[in-house]
Amino acid sequence: MIKITNLHASINGKEILKGLDLEVKAGEVHAIMGPNGAGKSTLASILAGREDYEVTEGSVDFDGVDLLALNTEDRAREGLFLAFQYPVEIPGVSNVNFLRTALNEIREYRGQEQIPAKDFLAMVKEKSKLVELDAGLASRAVNEGFSGGEKKRNEIFQMAMLEPKLAILDETDSGLDIDALRIVSNGVNALKSDNNATIVITHYQRLLDYIVPDFVHVLHDGKIVKTGPKELALELEEKGYDWLK
């Protein structure tokens, strides 16, 4: 699905990623953990195509496509989805209009017809149930006045609507209470299939009780320093990160 090789990246001349390697196959869930400042969110931003970062070395193969050669919107259209740590508000733009625009742009890129309004609304109804999103929220402006939990649920709702090949969840658990965590996780799990993959970026082992990873990676100082099965997360919870440095 995605193969990252020797990725180096910097911002304002400061190197953040220092030769990162990672391969995620279809049907897999990978968790990336690590201390603050290790480069976890930077990795997510670079894969999504944020312009602030400069890739100085390395390559990213996304299902046969050179990901780094694509602009941000085309990466999304190829099937890469980022669930933001801090989803922004877009006042006056309804969630449904936003999603319909996004969905039709993706479909156009793939040479598909625009989605008929009726099918679209049926899809909204079906997918909003997945994250127990109030039907009213779908017609409200994008994230405007949403609580922290609602914003995160809305991210997963959007993910459900856009059906990406690879979803990157950037600290989706931050700021969630137990109930919201369960709802969001159930949504992610329900969307899992043999044809897609998920990268979960998190600080805490707690999320991984709900979204069970196939592999856990420890990111430290811009590199993956350890990879293990899901039990590695428990070990980290107990010992912290210092022993890996």
Partner: protein
């Protein structure tokens, strides 16, 4: 759900000014320049009665004593009034009586503007008084309106057919002496629209006029007068597009609205005059006086979407003379490249329990300057007057400017006045969020800006709202910096 995506995509492809074409029709021009002889010529060509000529000459003499206002936050080379053709009429053997008689080339122009009358007659239920240069060439729906006693005709026809109404109401809201451009308009106005809704009549359709400048070097001086008698209602739409020009064109219109007791007038404008090119060359000077008078319990609502013109100087205002009258002003003003806009409103509270609302959304891009200038004036007898003003500015680049000049004059201690203002820069995070969902940058800006202006766009009649949304997106193409 707003605009359709294909339409938007199509519009975005056409970066250059969409309506930059001219119609090749013989014109019947007056010589360049302005003097009493020219005014006599205009009046004669229009076969006007003596009193109209006297009115014009009087206005001209007043204009000569006045000076161009310089207080607005705009700078441009003052027009050379001796180099302007003040009268230009498309040459036709005789005035068209039915739509079928209209010159095919004029019809073609209207088709390019997307306002095929045939279409509109059938589908829209919109009566259109199409003004090309100076003479109204076709008026539809007149018969239907006539049944209700509604008068909707060109200003020239009204001068001949309804002289009593014109003499009674013309200049009753905007006096000839009001300002430099209003005086000029009064002297040389070419044509325009007159509309009268009788007592208790609710006009069943949107009344619409498309203005369009055509002849190179021709200034246009429109005159609009809308009178809603007691308890009447009407909604009036005004849309403007102008052909692409290198030299500057002057547009000094006067619009007067009169809402008698318990009447209501909604006046909506989408203004898309040629704004000049990317380097600030050319473009229309839009120097307009618009004002409405509200008698007891009356309501006047101005909604405008201003995206065009090199220079905009425009303050649609309400005189809330009658007790319990209501004035509203909803505005979106977009400036890009080197455009300059100084626009806002005046709400003059004279009657008791009068209410006014001002919502202004300014969007500046490129190197443009965008100013809101508003006056809320509470007279001493205006007990319990209330005003709410909200002025928001959105900056697209680091080189543009947004300015707010709110003036408040209050002489009554029971008045309640609220003013809110915000300035923000379009968020890179918002755009990145859209891009990450697969939305292109152009569409992202369209979405964000339309969301920002939603409160105002919602006030437009349906058929205008979609057009306005597209216009905003097109006006702001490639504007984030």
């Amino acid at each position: 759900m707003g605009y359709t995506e294909e339409e938007l995509a199509e519009d975005l492809k056409n970066q250059e000014y969409k309506y930059g074409f001219t119609t090749d029709i013989e014109s019947d021009d007056a010589p360049k320049g302005l003097n009493e002889d020219i005014i006599r010529l205009i009046s004669k060509k229009k076969e006007e009665p003596e009193w109209m000529l006297e009115y014009r000459l009087n206005a001209y003499r007043i204009w000569l004593t006045m000076e161009e206002p310089i207080w607005a936050h705009v700078s441009f080379e003052k027009p050379n009034y001796q180099d302007i053709i003040f009268y230009s009429a498309p040459k036709q053997n005789q005035k068209a009586k039915t739509w079928e008689d209209v010159d095919p080339e004029l019809k073609e122009t209207m088709n390019k503007l997307g306002i095929s009358l045939e279409e509109q007659k059938r589908l829209q239920g919109v009566a259109v008084d199409f003004v090309m240069d100076s003479v109204s060439v076709a008026t539809s729906f007149k018969e239907k309106l006539k049944e209700l006693g509604i008068i909707f005709c060109s200003f020239s026809d009204a001068v001949k057919e309804h002289p009593d109404l014109i003499q009674k109401y013309m200049s009753s809201v905007v006096p000839v002496t009001d300002n430099y451009y209003a005086a000029l308009n009064s002297a040389v106005f070419s044509d325009g629209t007159f509309c009268y809704i009788p007592k208790g009549v609710r006009c069943p359709m949107e009344l619409s006029t498309y203005f369009r400048m055509n002849k190179s070097g021709t200034g246009q001086f429109e005159r609009t007068l809308v009178v809603a008698d007691e308890g009447a209602y009407c909604s009036y739409l005004e849309g403007c597009t102008a052909p692409q020009r290198d030299e500057n064109q002057l547009h000094a219109a006067v619009v007067e609205l009169i809402a008698m007791d318990n009447a209501e007038i909604k006046y909506s404008t989408v203004q898309n005059w040629y704004p000049g090119d990317k380097n600030g060359k050319g473009g229309v000077y839009n120097l307009v006086t618009k004002r409405g008078l509200c008698e007891k319990g009356a309501k006047i609502s101005w909604t405008q979407v201003e995206t065009g013109s090199a220079v905009t100087w425009k303050y649609p205002s309400c005189i809330l003379k009658g007790d319990n009258s209501v004035g509203e002003f909803y505005s979106v003003a977009v400036t890009n490249n080197f455009q300059q806009a100084d626009t806002g409103t005046k709400m003059v509270h004279i009657g008791k329990n009068t209410k006014s609302t001002i919502i202004s959304k300014g969007i500046s891009a490129g190197k443009s300057q965008n100013s809101y200038r508003g006056l809320v004036q509470i007279h001493k007898n205006a007990d319990n007057a209330r005003n709410f003003s909200q002025c928001d500015s959105l900056l697209m680049t680091d080189e543009c400017g947004a300015h707010t000049f709110p003036y408040i004059e209050c002489k009554n201690s029971t008045a309640k006045i609220e003013h809110e203002a915000t300035t923000s820069k379009i968020g890179e995070d918002q755009i990145f969020y859209c891009l990450q969902r697969g939305i292109s940058e152009e569409k992202a800006i369209g979405l964000i800006v339309n969301g920002y202006c939603k409160e105002v766009l919602n006030k437009l009649p349906m058929e205008f709202a979609a057009e306005a949304q597209k216009l905003l997106a097109v006006s702001l193409e490639n504007s984030v910096g």
